[in-house]
């Protein structure tokens, strides 16, 4: 039963390990906290833009999972800091001995799993934003004039505020506004006009904004086509919003990757510290060498032991239980 990846740890390296682990744990807690705050920020941005993202777009799952993953990382960091601090003090370590095993399992499975899921989502989901924004913006544009229809009465205000804040016009350009039945007239029914709303106007233009009759070449006689067209915002809102959200998602993904790395390091360090201290029966200042390891035996041996243990539990317990079949010190769920 050879231990997996053993490491000899005399007293001094053990102390160094504990101190380094304490520092890494606080870094992990910081990274987890920052990931938490940033995913909160992303959630807030998505909530503000909810009218322009189709409800079928799964992008909102990313900040929610990242929130949970950040919490997990924060918790792991705090536990690691506490455990490594306690491992340097003989009086504080005994209560940690019992809880450290299950906590490590929770950290690996729960925290690690959530982080991997969040990273996966950060890579996969931004692709779905394209279609979601296309649908959402299209709906908002179509409902711009429906200020009297319950359920869509805010589309005009929200779209105007979006164009004013993000400096964009229409979906892909100002011509999108020509195809929309923007004004409802009681006399003639719906009709098309080649004009744009005031929110498309660019304040950097040297002349007062030209909003109407934009496709008529002679409507505005003093318009100089050689000058760069500063009259309206040139970008479409689709491109601007896509870039904005993708940037947020990539920063979040980067942060999650760093957190994941730190989490692996902290969990490994804690495992080695725990097994090394088990080797000296929990006596902190023991001078001798001990061995820290990842797993007490190979995977096959562990499964065999777990199977045998399960079998022993179902049979009536014989008095002469052979010592080889005694469960390993760390308990069952180490796989």
């Amino acid at each position: 039963m050879a231990p997996v990846l053993p490491l000899v740890l005399p007293l001094q390296p053990r102390v160094r390990l504990a101190q380094g682990l304490w520092l890494l744990s606080w870094l992990l807690a910081l990274a987890g906290g920052l990931a938490l705050l940033y995913s909160g920020h992303l959630l807030a941005q998505l909530w503000l833009l909810r009218t322009f993202l189709a409800p079928s777009c799964p992008f909102a799952a990313l900040p929610q999972v990242a929130l949970a993953a950040g919490l997990g990382a924060l918790g792991t960091g705090l536990v690691g800091a506490g455990a490594s601090r306690a491992s340097l003090d003989a009086a504080q370590y005994p209560p940690w001995r019992k809880v450290l095993g299950p906590l490590l399992v929770l950290g690996t499975a729960g925290g690690g799993g959530l982080l991997i899921l969040a990273l996966g989502l950060a890579l996969a989901l931004p692709g779905s934003l394209d279609a979601g924004l296309e649908d959402g913006l299209g709906t908002a544009l179509a409902h711009y004039k429906d200020t009297e229809v319950p359920g869509h009465c805010h589309a005009k205000r929200l779209l105007d505020e979006l164009q004013l804040r993000h400096h964009c016009c229409g979906r892909h350009g100002y011509k999108d506004w020509f195809g929309i039945h923007r004004i409802q007239s009681n006399v003639e029914g719906l009709y098309l006009i080649d004009g744009v709303p005031f929110s498309c106007c660019n304040p950097h233009s040297p002349r007062p904004c030209l909003q109407s009759r934009l496709s008529e070449p002679h409507a505005h006689p003093l318009f100089d086509p050689r000058q760069p067209n500063l009259n309206l915002w040139a970008q479409g809102c689709h491109g601007v919003l896509l870039q904005h959200l993708q940037d947020l998602a990539s920063v979040l993904g980067g942060g999650l990757a760093v957190t994941f790395l730190l989490q692996i390091l902290v969990l490994l360090g804690l495992r080695y510290l725990q097994t090394a201290l088990e080797g000296v029966e929990g006596v902190i200042d023991a001078e001798g060498d001990t061995q820290g390891y990842l797993f007490p035996s190979g995977l096959k041996d562990m499964l065999k032991t777990a199977w045998r243990q399960g079998g022993v539990a179902h049979r009536p317990a014989p008095e002469e239980a052979p010592p080889e079949e005694a469960p390993p010190k760390e308990g069952l769920p180490e796989a």
Partner: protein
């Protein structure tokens, strides 16, 4: 008859010194906060100096910055003194400096209170600066090809969009100035020629506003031109229409913004001032308690601390006496010098 005497034993003195040390370092943080508040206000005023004629007074942010720096310096010094106060050897070197230092602290507290009051009172000067600045800004709105003024259009437009306001006092201010440059007027058109002829100064005035006055919450597309002509637009009455354009004037909007900013800064500065006064009083008690240790060889003995050695009126009289003596001693010296010179001359 000392003022507000308190008995101190060794334990109490130590506790006082430790407490003061902590409070001084907290006060250094508070000084940093005041410094950053002053810096923030300065940046905000600078951002909009174009609509304030570049003549706004920076007295309040500058004094907040100065007070923040001074507070950091004084309080870190006081922290060091309190730390050394527990060790008689180290304290001996601070002893001669403490009385003048306390006087300086009192002056600093008075100055901080004055600055706090200024925060609340600056509104009046800002109002007149804003009125003039906005008026000029609107006048230069159309001068987008005049160097030095070409950014005024962008500034006013962004201001009206951000602060949700229109014009100086209201949107009618735009009716009184020509905000469309002659460059973009078609002088061959009859309508333009008529309008210019009908105006005494030959200006092209319209009953219209720039696009930045439009309110996105309006249920109908923004009506910018022919605002006083009800028949030009379907179902429109300019007397009762409220949602079409922003109703507030930019002067009021900006004034409210800066007033709320300075009021909250004033409130924070007031809290910091109260904290500083507490520290000064504590330091005075520590000073007098350590002074009145009757037996320097026995650190365990009791002592008394007070704010003033005699009552307020007696202290004031003594202060005036010392001032008079200072004056008289100068006179005596001068007379002595004259008398000394006279027999020499004679």
């Amino acid at each position: 008859m000392a003022l507000l005497k308190v008995k101190f034993d060794q334990m109490k003195r130590v506790k006082l010194a430790q407490g003061l040390w902590l409070m001084n370092w907290l006060s250094v943080l508070a000084g940093i906060v005041i410094f950053s508040l002053g810096l923030f206000l300065k940046i905000e005023l600078r951002k909009r100096s174009e609509v304030m004629n570049n003549s706004e007074s920076h007295f309040v942010p500058n004094s907040l910055i100065g007070m923040g720096v001074l507070s950091c310096v004084f309080n870190s010094l006081a922290g060091k003194i309190c730390y050394d106060a527990l060790d008689p050897a180290k304290y001996a070197k601070w002893k001669p400096w403490l009385k003048p230092y306390l006087a300086v602290c009192v002056l600093f507290n008075i100055a901080l209170l004055l600055v706090t009051l200024c925060c609340f009172l600056m509104r009046g000067s800002l109002e007149s600066t804003l009125a003039h600045g906005l008026k000029n800004g609107m006048k230069y709105y159309r001068d987008t090809d005049t160097p030095g003024r070409c950014f005024m259009k962008k500034t006013i437009d962004m201001l009206q969009i951000e602060f949700k306001c229109c014009g100086n006092n209201g949107f009618r201010d735009w009716f009184e100035i020509q905000w469309i440059s002659n460059r973009y007027l078609d002088f061959s058109s009859k309508e333009v020629k008529d309008r210019i002829k009908s105006n005494v100064d030959g200006r092209y005035l319209v009953d219209g506003v720039p696009f930045s006055c439009c309110n996105p919450s309006s249920p109908r597309p923004c009506i910018q031109y022919q605002l006083t002509n009800n028949s030009a637009h379907y179902s429109y009455d300019h007397q009762t229409e409220e949602l079409n354009l922003w109703v507030n004037g930019c002067r009021v909007a900006l004034l409210n913004y800066y007033s709320s900013l300075m009021n909250s800064m004033g409130a924070v500065a007031l809290l910091v001032w109260l904290f500083e006064v507490t520290i000064t009083i504590g330091l005075r008690y520590l000073h007098t308690a350590l002074e009145s240790v009757s037996n320097p060889e026995d650190p365990e003995c009791e002592s008394e601390g007070w704010l003033l050695e005699k009552s307020v009126s007696e202290t004031w009289k003594a202060f005036l006496e010392s001032l008079k003596k200072l004056g008289k001693s100068n006179q005596v010296e001068a007379e002595g010098a004259d008398a000394g010179q006279a027999p020499e001359a004679g």
